[in-house]
């Protein structure tokens, strides 16, 4: 072995000091990298003291500035930076028997603004994602209509269209925690939630084209997937703001989101926005299919169940800090979160640092749109004290997000769906964040 020069000894000392300031789990890698470099020969003497791991930091000129980058269309459809590989959908394997009929969650802890990139939109399906050739896809409108219609995608997309920003949420979001906290990550407590700009045709336009017969009260939406997903939608909603959507965030729908066409019922439980839409039937009563009886009904403590509970009532959650985003330094801290309501706009969000004893009103950030994700923020000065963080949203109808105890009192713990209660993050003195519930 070569004898270590004096320079190298200094360098090693410096690496050690640097490493002491790094989080524990990064320390070992850092030391290893440093040592690999010291073993090399060209180091140190020429440039002076280039500290391992800091070659790209000032005063040094970073490597990517000393060579050319890649050219246009080297990636014809752009991808996120490879340094963002951790920004992905995730599932909880034990939730379902099979990945074909399952769910994945959006990484809310890393998302910004109110739009979810289409590739990160949460997934939920009951028979897998079908691979549909749009040329071979048809939308049929039948039942109580004057003219039962069959539309190609081209014909469908020739109707006048509209674009709206709305959230989409599975009513089972948070449903794993009726009995107690069990998910140590925001992605799993609230990630069955996403926001997008949706482009499509008002369902009323299509139904009027077919001519609704007198006496009609409900519309059945049916998917072209292996589950043949069906939901009954009251005609009132169908003629209000329901869309037949073909695009999401500026491009055709992703296969997981119903390519080439889906229903979209703003503010309502995700399952009613039937994907891979192949048929709309107009009728005079609900069909009471599996997804509106066996599933998506809310069983109460007395054994009776609420049905047709369509609306996603107001909800909110703090996205930073959260278990995935622990507090890293003392001082001023930007607390952020998301609020949303299926009844309209979010009017106000209050934040508590002490488990709901005292509340302060947060600032709403950016666009405040109806039935859309809405950002809120608050600046706090953290000096290492333990916190019990909560957010409480109020929507434009005046409805206030309830506490979990209030929900449990009237519903029990077997509802699965529609748990929109105030969520609590416990911040420990070191800055770590835990998912807890308050009794």
């Amino acid at each position: 072995m070569k004898k270590l020069s004096e320079n190298t000894t200094d360098l090693l000392q410096e690496i050690k000091t640097e490493a002491a300031e790094l989080p524990h789990n990064k320390r070992r890698d850092f030391m290893l990298n440093g040592l690999k470099l010291t073993a090399g020969t060209a180091l140190a003497t020429a440039v002076g003291k280039v500290v391992a791991g800091q070659e790209n930091l000032p005063p040094n000129v970073p490597s990517w500035q000393r060579s050319l980058g890649r050219g246009v269309v080297s990636v014809p459809y752009g991808q996120p930076s490879k340094h963002e590989a951790n920004l992905i959908r995730r599932t909880v394997e034990w939730l379902t028997a099979d990945k074909i009929a399952s769910i994945s969650m959006s990484p809310l802890h890393k998302m910004k603004g109110i739009i979810t990139p289409s590739g990160l939109h949460f997934e939920r399906y009951h028979g897998g994602v079908p691979d549909i050739d749009p040329d071979d896809h048809r939308l049929m409108i039948n039942g109580m209509v004057e003219r039962p219609l069959l539309l190609t995608m081209d014909e469908l997309m020739s109707f006048p269209s509209e674009s709206h920003i709305h959230f989409l949420e599975c009513p089972a979001n948070g449903g794993m925690e009726w009995r107690g906290a069990q998910m140590e990550a925001l992605q799993f407590t609230h990630g069955m939630l996403s926001g997008s700009e949706w482009t499509g045709i008002k369902l009323s336009t299509i139904l009027q084209e077919a001519g609704i017969k007198p006496g009609a009260k409900w519309v059945l939406a049916e998917g072209a997937d292996a589950a043949g997903m069906t939901r009954s939608i009251p005609l009132e909603k169908a003629l209000d703001d329901t869309l037949v959507v073909f695009a999401q965030n500026g491009e055709m729908l992703r296969p997981e989101q119903g390519y080439p066409v889906r229903l979209f019922t703003p503010g309502w439980e995700g399952n009613t926005s039937v994907k891979w839409l192949r048929r709309l039937e107009v009728g005079d009563m609900p069909w009471e299919h599996r997804e509106e009886t066996s599933k998506y009904t809310d069983l109460l403590a007395d054994g009776r169940a609420r049905k047709h509970s369509f609306v996603q009532e107001v909800n909110s959650v703090i996205t930073s800090p959260c278990p995935e985003n622990p507090i890293k330094r003392k001082g001023l801290l930007q607390l952020e979160g998301l609020a949303w309501s299926g009844h309209g706009k979010v009017k106000r969000v209050d934040v508590s640092l002490d488990g709901g004893v005292n509340w302060q009103t947060a600032k709403l950030k950016g666009l405040v749109l109806s039935k859309s994700l809405t950002r809120f923020a608050m600046e706090i000065n953290w000096q290492g004290e333990p916190l019990l963080l909560q957010s409480r949203a109020v929507d434009e109808t005046g409805y206030v997000q309830p506490t979990l105890s209030q929900l449990r009192e009237v519903r029990g713990t077997n509802s699965i769906y529609h748990k929109n209660s105030i969520h609590t993050w416990q911040v420990l003195t070191g800055g770590a964040v835990n998912n807890v519930q308050l009794g």
Binding site: N86, L149, Q182, A185, E209, K213, R290, G303, R304, I327
Partner: protein, 222 residues
């Protein structure tokens, strides 16, 4: 399900056959405002309109017995749902659970929870068996539906289910559902001293059930 008056329909079929897609100005009343798409034929509708409603609308002609259903169920369903509907592994349970709906761990099954038998016919026909949806004939679907009802003690072993007697099947939990009546809670927007801080009890997370590998690089400061 809702057929057009026969003559009106014939004209449309002739028109679309003769002219491809478009319906001429002479039949303008048969066109919508935008004139997009074409009239779906009766045959096309029949192929796709498979839904069944609680009042029996949509049920095809046919019948099937509990006895026939037993063999079909054993061959096509039992590997996942169990011979008695008890569910193999994590696959759904189809039978039993009576009287558990108000218990701590309710077991929601066709027999204990489902309000309508039509839902069972419709769902089996459109989505089961899981790996071969829409592969059953009407008679097979009637027979398997009858058998799942039998596993739930809703019909006798000599029962034959048909379009004609469907409405006589009464589901035990038919009266168990009510229309959405939310909002069901009212939280006041208290701002100061909303509760006694000493009354707060913190319950932590059950450790070990969350997939957290992705979070390790974000370890907090020590």
């Amino acid at each position: 399900m809702y057929n057009l008056a026969k003559n009106y329909f014939k004209i449309l079929v002739l028109m679309s056959a003769a002219q491809g897609l478009l319906i001429s100005a002479a039949y303008a009343e048969t066109e919508g405002h935008y004139g997009l798409g074409r009239i779906a034929t009766q045959e096309e509708i029949a192929g796709w309109d498979i839904d069944v409603r609680p009042d029996g609308l949509g049920l095809p002609a046919g019948s099937g017995s509990v006895a026939d259903g037993e063999g079909l169920y054993e061959g096509k369903c039992a590997s996942c749902h169990g011979s008695f509907g008890e569910g193999e592994g994590r696959w759904p349970i189809l039978a039993g659970g009576f009287g558990t709906l108000s218990e701590g761990r309710p077991e929601k099954t066709v027999g204990s929870y489902w309000p309508y038998a039509s839902t069972l016919y419709d769902y089996i026909n459109r989505a089961m068996p899981f790996t071969a949806p829409q592969s059953l004939t009407p008679n097979e679907t009637y027979a398997i539906t009858a058998y799942v009802l039998y596993l739930n003690e809703i019909v006798d072993e000599d029962f034959v289910l048909s379009k004609g007697n469907f409405s006589t099947v009464v589901m035990p939990n038919a009266e168990g559902f009510f229309e959405d009546d939310r909002p069901d809670v009212r939280n006041p927007t208290c701002m100061k001293n909303c509760k006694d801080p000493s009354s707060i009890k913190v319950t932590s997370t059950i450790a070990g059930v969350t997939p957290t590998e992705h979070m390790e690089e974000n370890a907090p400061i020590e």
